[in-house]
Symmetry: C2
Subunit: 582 residues, 2 copies
């Protein structure tokens, strides 16, 4: 037995007990006649004391050699601490050490094992096993486990079955790029790693499994944007004999349960919004509704004056920025530069200050009088003291730009409080979206999503207007889940593949098994998948997912700790029937 | 709402209620004036009734069109059944149908959806989604989920944390063959899929995570023997600050809990046996101890007579086969043929019948008298009525052969009852085993296993005799778990790599990150992994794992349902910087 207790466990009730502890040296203070050591493990920190009076000479001498991160085992007596520390669970006691064993020494770590470390991102990733010793990372991983257990127990109690679907599957050209795995036993052929278990969960519904879930790794070989990982985890769910409303109720139940259990928050029923409404009000299909700043469309009041920029725009749209009428000229110029950045792409920004005295002064006073500007204020909901900012141009792009500006301003104004949770269902997504590159429609969710029955007739005449039985769960401006009611008959599925530009042969080669399955009594079904990494990060009050993943990869898809990927032997390549291109 | 209840839910307490059910047509009987339909879903079967008197004509007519596996929705009234079926949960009632909707038709399934189906393995795998509708497969998957939940809840309650380790890792030449994944972003480099999360779980221990587990997919690109899968699932576990005894206690606790919870069985403390003892007594490091038939070594009593075959053998060893003295000459000849099969490889078998009257008659009476044979009986523990069978030759091979014969006879005698559970720890495994092919020692478990401290001095002089801190958990003749106390200091790990034939450079390239980690205060640690597919199958009372995996692969590593692996586009190959060999 290496230890009788852990380092977070002992308190005044243990005084006079003989105990054995093991852990890491967090720090030590040596006053010559007395040495204090903070001993750390996963559970906490316990103070050890060695002193001339009460500690044997050899033990005291050995204690002087202890460096940071040494692994030690001590035996000793729990005693009352002279200067108690109420902030620590173990702050009332210390251990008077009688025996000390160094289990392993440590060289100096490349960064301090403290909540606020001196190590940068790169060095922390290279020595991730040291980074994990730090509370922020350790607690994130413990939190992730807690959330996963809550999910599993909640869904199991509702008769959901976790079924493991295969990792070695078949490559499909639709969607993102697959990672592939050359087969040694089937020469010239490849497995693919799943981007999601989509077809398998649908086949489980055909198989009568009824309520399925899985917390499962998925893979996408995409160029990595910040905070994206090539392997990521989903809570993947599917139900048979359900309509959209059943799915929404079921998973709103799950999300509410998590907010309640892990955050102690009761949000009440989640609001719902159509995709069209979200785009109009927030310029975004995953609006952050923790704060207002809703879009006000100004075409009717700002066009047909002499301001050509607005007159030539498809859309003139503004928001009221609370309390920002006091912005200086310099601050406003900086905002204008901000919206002109290539990442945002606006050509300019019009603004109007709604002063505390009720007057409004704009950057376009030449074209608009006080009455005009009052209308702007009314439409954007501006109050005295607010700043109205207005963008104009192509409708879709302008909405997207104003959404970016809205989020940026909210961040600057501190309106994106990570401890406030505002969930929202966005429903009635378009079924298809036009892709400029390939000059054809793509499935907005995936090719298995069912169109709304009342919109099916539009498929021939106006495909872009067809709405899907698709829904997203949005939390604090992040899509944390999304899903749809699926197509469950062969004819509709074949039609969908046709509209998506598959030849009959391609559809059969890629998804023949699914269309075959639909012939044998496929039930109506639908589902949803949560992005688990993101969900956990948001619940944990963080913006980035990286600390909620034990061993993340960097933006080049590399694990810098183990140095993967790496080259492999020529023998391996030969066995796999492949060779490298020069 | 597609249904108000499921098909396993309704009973006499629901009589007169209006209900809505949905499910599959299991079968229908049409007597003209009356039609009965068995409606099936995941939860059970409910009988529907349509009759001339009480059912509308259109509904009755539609009911006549229903074929097997049609998906339907019905509304109706729960009524008392005339001829009750006590064997069914819903056997007291039936549904008098008022509304019928066909949700989806079905063509004739390729095999019957019955507990005993007419479909062979191949066709069932091709239409696995239909196979899953059958109770034996469905119940196996539900059972798997139940076991997984028990494991997670048990370990979580003991402070174990489930941590997800990466799937895209680094290829290592040691162990089985890796599946690899070409990297698009890192030209000419490959990820590997993990054969186990071994190094990551050790790094989590270095990271202070203390108690880790994960139910996790692992991958081995090996030629598939029967009942092996290229992707399989482990319960992977690791603990810090532990000795072998802590690990054994902890996971005996888990295994006992599972036996109790899912089988209602209390086995008491698990027996333990050293590797040497297991090999001597059973010729096998995973002995099935549900029955006796322990080996009796006969060298002392059978050699130095005139029987050259025995005299020239390193080992003469026998077992008593209970009640088999009555075997006919033909049966015994067949046994002799059985041991001579290439898979077993014996050159012959000697036997002695211990008759009910106390006399013993052997196939080698020319060389052995009654007193000799009585000694054989004593050593093998034979009783009157038993058959003694004896093999001889090279010690190791003979033990392996006799073990195969012992298992075969036990199967024939019905001694391998799947509802009896006999767990066993096998401990003190050798650290290294000699590999004839490569003419060097290999790690018997893996290169991270620690030698027993008292045997370290033998590493130079007699490597094969060094015992490891390694242990297996055996259940009914299957290794269901195995693990070891790990090396946790850099010097010992470097030494081990040296003994295993790694150059310093190779060790650094492959496992440098682990040896680096050991410099920063690595705690003593060890762990264990359970083969989850096998564990679930054995607990489920089955010999094969296939029905406990939703979508298994065949012996060529193919998923015959989705037809994977498959060829990929030239564009994909180009992006991945690889080409096929001609």
């Amino acid at each position: 037995m290496y230890r009788s207790h852990n380092c977070g466990q002992l308190n005044a009730s243990h005084i006079n007990q003989e105990v054995t502890l093991a852990g890491w040296v967090q720090k030590s203070r040596n006053k010559g006649f007395m040495i204090w050591v903070d001993l750390r493990d996963r559970y906490g920190i316990t103070q050890l004391i060695f002193d001339e009076q009460r500690t044997q000479k050899e033990v005291l001498e050995l204690a002087t050699t202890l460096g940071r991160e040494f692994v030690i085992q001590v035996k000793g007596t729990v005693i009352e601490r002279e200067s108690k520390n109420a902030a620590m669970a173990t702050g009332d006691i210390e251990i008077l050490v009688s025996e000390l064993t160094v289990l392993n020494a440590s060289i100096t770590p490349p960064f301090t094992i403290e909540d606020e470390t001196d190590g940068g991102e790169d060095i922390r990733m290279k020595y991730r096993y040291l980074d994990i010793r730090r509370n922020p990372v350790k607690n994130s991983l413990l939190f992730r486990h807690k959330v996963a257990m809550e999910v599993r127990n909640y869904l199991s109690a509702q008769n959901f079955v976790e079924v493991e679907t295969p990792v070695l599957i078949k490559s499909t050209p639709e969607g993102a790029r697959d990672f592939v795995v050359p087969s040694r036993m089937n020469q010239g052929q490849f497995y693919a790693l799943p981007q999601s278990p989509q077809t398998f969960k649908q086949l489980l519904m055909v198989g009568g499994m009824d309520k399925y879930f899985q917390i499962v790794k998925c893979f996408r070989d995409e160029d990595l944007r910040a905070d994206r990982q090539p392997e990521f985890t989903q809570i993947d769910c599917e139900m048979a004999f359900v309509e959209q409303e059943d799915i929404i109720q079921t998973f709103e139940g799950l999300a509410s349960h998590l907010l309640k259990q892990v955050k102690g928050i009761d949000t009440g029923a989640f609001p719902r919004m159509t995709y069209d409404e979200a785009m109009k009000k927030y310029g975004n299909d995953k609006p952050d509704i923790r704060f207002g700043m809703e879009f006000g469309e100004l075409n009717a009041v700002a066009q047909h004056k002499d301001f050509a920029v607005f007159n030539n725009s498809e859309l003139v749209v503004g928001i009221a920025v609370p309390g920002a009428a006091s912005y200086t000229r310099k601050q406003i110029d900086e905002l204008i530069e901000w919206v002109k950045r290539p990442q945002v792409g606006a050509s300019g920004m019009v603004y109007a200050k709604y002063e505390a005295d009720g007057s409004i002064k704009s950057s376009v006073d030449k074209f608009y009088d006080a009455a005009d500007l009052q209308q702007w204020a009314q439409i954007t909901g501006a109050q005295p003291g607010d700043l109205i900012v207005v963008l104009s141009g192509d409708a879709h792009k302008t909405r997207t730009r104003l959404s970016a500006l809205r989020m940026e301003l909210a961040t600057r104004l501190g309106l994106r409080n990570p401890e406030v949770f505002a969930p929202l269902w966005v429903v009635d997504f378009p079924l298809l979206e036009w892709d400029e590159d390939s000059q054809r429609f793509h499935a907005m969710h995936h090719p298995f999503t069912s169109p709304k029955p009342e919109d099916i007739s539009l498929l021939e005449t106006n495909p872009g207007a067809v709405r899907a039985n698709a829904y997203d769960l949005v939390l604090n401006g992040n899509e944390i889940g999304g899903g749809s009611i699926r197509i469950h008959d062969k004819a509709t599925q074949a039609l969908m593949f046709k509209y998506l530009g598959f030849t009959e042969e391609q559809a059969k080669a890629q998804f023949g098994f699914l269309m075959d399955a639909f012939q044998y009594g496929a039930p109506p079904h639908g589902g949803l998948a949560f992005g688990f990494d993101r969900l956990v990060a948001i619940l944990g009050g963080q913006e980035t997912i990286r600390d909620f993943i034990a061993f993340p990869k960097n933006n080049s898809g590399r694990d810098v700790m183990i140095d993967a990927p790496s080259t492999i032997d020529e023998t391996q390549l030969t066995e796999l029937h492949i060779k490298l291109r020069g």
